[in-house]
Symmetry: C2
Subunit: 210 residues, 2 copies
């Protein structure tokens, strides 16, 4: 089943239900895809406009990146749901004998490592999209620049949403060095990404006020 | 045409295109609806659980509010697109004679006031959803509490996205007292909402770390 083929209305309803997927991870991927798409929109409304001929080539390159990112992040909605399956299966394993306990712990650890991959990827890709949203904020058509600011706010939300979903997996891992390295990597991206998102948003507010 | 009936994939593609709608306003409504739905999810994963029997009645009431909000905010995706039509028509009016100029200015002013209504409503409803997301963060099942934090980050993004879309309309209004009052009202909600969103997010990080 593909969640990105659901209508927006159905997706919101499914998210609100007690079904475990889509959850905060898949929703963060959706918001990350919307962020990158807003960058694409700014590019598409700038390219071909006489007043912005000087930045036309640059905006075309930015559009290649934001288009690729919007597709790549969106696919993570479904991958997040896929990765939940082995985790749900691990939870369901019997753990009565010592052998069963050991096996369950091993399978669970593996599933947690797998399940942390998609939210980390969401953080990485939403972080990457901010580089292009910043170009959109600086050089995109003034008629569309607000969309670059909205995109920056969304990318930050996707990053923060992804972080919480890395965290819930990392918290349960027995392999503490792995978990701590994972959180350190995530937190570096979160800090840098949130700083850039705020800066891009403020740039847009300034350009709109000028 | 209803944008919320499009698949998530199509919605992201349409957002990224050069078509003026959906734009940052409609996308902010989508993110606001996802925020409220995450609150509903936390309620649905808390209600009926023995360990959370003490908060069951409270969570049922919260769920009524978050369910209503997720539907109400989602409808704004399409209303935002509807309100763009009179604005686009006003832009297209001839303004050669003094009479035409005066008429165009009058029609434009009316369309700007109309178009600022939906983004203000997005800010108001995303702000309102934070009250319920905070209850979810404080009292919801620990197994779902990360979703309350993701919801808070999304509500903040919807508020910041809505603000930029109020701003682009307010900036063009000739009726400055109206425009300034509108921005003052918006900014109060933004300040209060962003503060609450950050607080809710931090509460979730703390509960996950405990």
């Amino acid at each position: 089943m593909s969640f990105i083929e659901l209508s927006c209305q159905r997706f919101v309803d499914e998210l609100g239900s007690k079904a475990p997927v889509p959850g905060g991870g898949g929703a963060s991927a959706m918001v990350g895809a919307l962020a990158a798409a807003l960058g694409s929109m700014v590019c598409n409304l700038t390219i071909g406009k006489k007043a912005y001929r000087d930045v036309e080539e640059e905006m075309k390159k930015v559009l290649e990146h934001t288009s690729a990112l919007q597709n790549e992040i969106l696919l993570l909605v479904d991958r997040d749901a896929e990765d939940f399956k082995p985790l749900a299966a691990a939870y369901g394993l019997k753990a009565e004998t010592p052998e069963e306990k050991e096996n369950k712990a091993r399978v669970m650890e593996e599933a947690l490592k797998t399940a942390s991959g998609v939210p980390l990827k969401i953080v990485e890709l939403a972080h990457a999209s901010l580089e292009y949203l910043e170009v959109c904020a600086d050089k995109g058509s003034k008629l569309a620049v607000s969309d670059a600011g909205v995109g920056a706010a969304f990318a930050k939300a996707a990053i923060l949403g992804g972080k919480l979903n890395v965290m819930i997996n990392a918290n349960m891992m027995k392999d503490r060095p792995f978990a701590e390295q994972l959180m350190a990597k995530t937190n570096r991206l979160v800090e840098d990404g949130c700083g850039r998102a705020d800066r891009v948003y403020e740039k847009v507010v300034k350009r709109l006020s000028a």
